[in-house]
Amino acid sequence: MKKTLLIALTLGVSVAATSTMANTVDPETDRQQLVDYFKAKSPNIEFQEYANGAYIYSADKYAQWEAAEEFPPYLDAIDAGEAAWNKDQAVFEKCFGSDVSKIRPQYPYFDESTQQVVTLEGAINKCRTDAGLKPYKWKKGTLAQVSAFLAYNSRGQKIDVKIDSEGAKQAFNEGRELYITPRGQLNLSCAKCHTYNSGRMARANTLSPNLGHTSHFPVFRAKWQNLGTLHRRYGGCHKNMRATPFKAQSKEYRNLEFFQAYMSNGIEINGPGYRE
């Protein structure tokens, strides 16, 4: 097992070294290697468990977290999201259809006409502004609540991001680049924490694996005492790295989400999630 891990790690290094050449990485090969890497690292952790973040690495914390999920603090937020949806139902149904269980799994996707990644949150606000409604604020509040309502209604369906064009492949590679390149004063990259050191402790925090990172968003964090979107979390991690965060829904973060979601293909959607 040690040997496999070492091979996986050196693979990571050689890939990182050539990463400046766009489009060198085949997304499906990359995803398969990541799955194999985590299997070698933790042979006893089932693939679907990666929906549960850092808790999979500690039986104690897992039990505490499962107890918290029985009466989760995000239920009010889901209700608020449903109320917001119903308030502008006619507008939303024109954009998304009337089956709320079929919406979350379609995002993120690569829009060939604009050559851009479209996220669920981005689509919600575009739907509003196209209809002359005010956009919600990014990162938290009503947007996160509507997103949570839609995630909740598609729990159990699998993440299934598709890449079948050069443009999509490019967006994936740009997200991947952002994920593995060290940034900021501490010289850290997302990969250093969430791939190479997942399962280890940064002070009292266990580092979660990037496999499954997007499955449970938006997340209710005890620390925030409310719901936050994936891009809010990205900004927080960039600040911890002492790097300048990008804006929520910037091209950079949409590509990062596209990369992370593709890497999590096959994992069940279980949002919203509760986290410390």
Binding site: Q185, N187, K192, A202, R203, N205, L207
Partner: protein, 125 residues
Amino acid sequence: MFSSNMKKLLTALAISSAVLVSPVTSNAADKGASSVEEGKKLAFSRSKGNCLACHMAGDGAMPGNIGPALIAMKLRYPDKQKLFDKIWGTPEAQNVPNSMMPPFGQNGILTDAEISKIVDYIYTL
């Protein structure tokens, strides 16, 4: 061509002078307890070294385990300058692929004087 050579030269100068400015020659005993105490504070402070995020060190509470425990430093680093260089992040000292260890001096996270004090402290561990 010229500019890239120039750049290399400048980096080399910046690195060597940084190391020269702060040679770690005297030992902890000479500097007295105060440097060790200050070094400990710098090492534990979240906004300064924050070494505990990743390393077990002395009696520091809730250490992480991303890096190796900082123990027996004198034994492992008979040459104190090498320890300074490891924390400063000189190119030769950054020899572990994908390491989380931040290059504290190179990236201006800590001053050379602060790193020296931290070295004095962890040399007692």
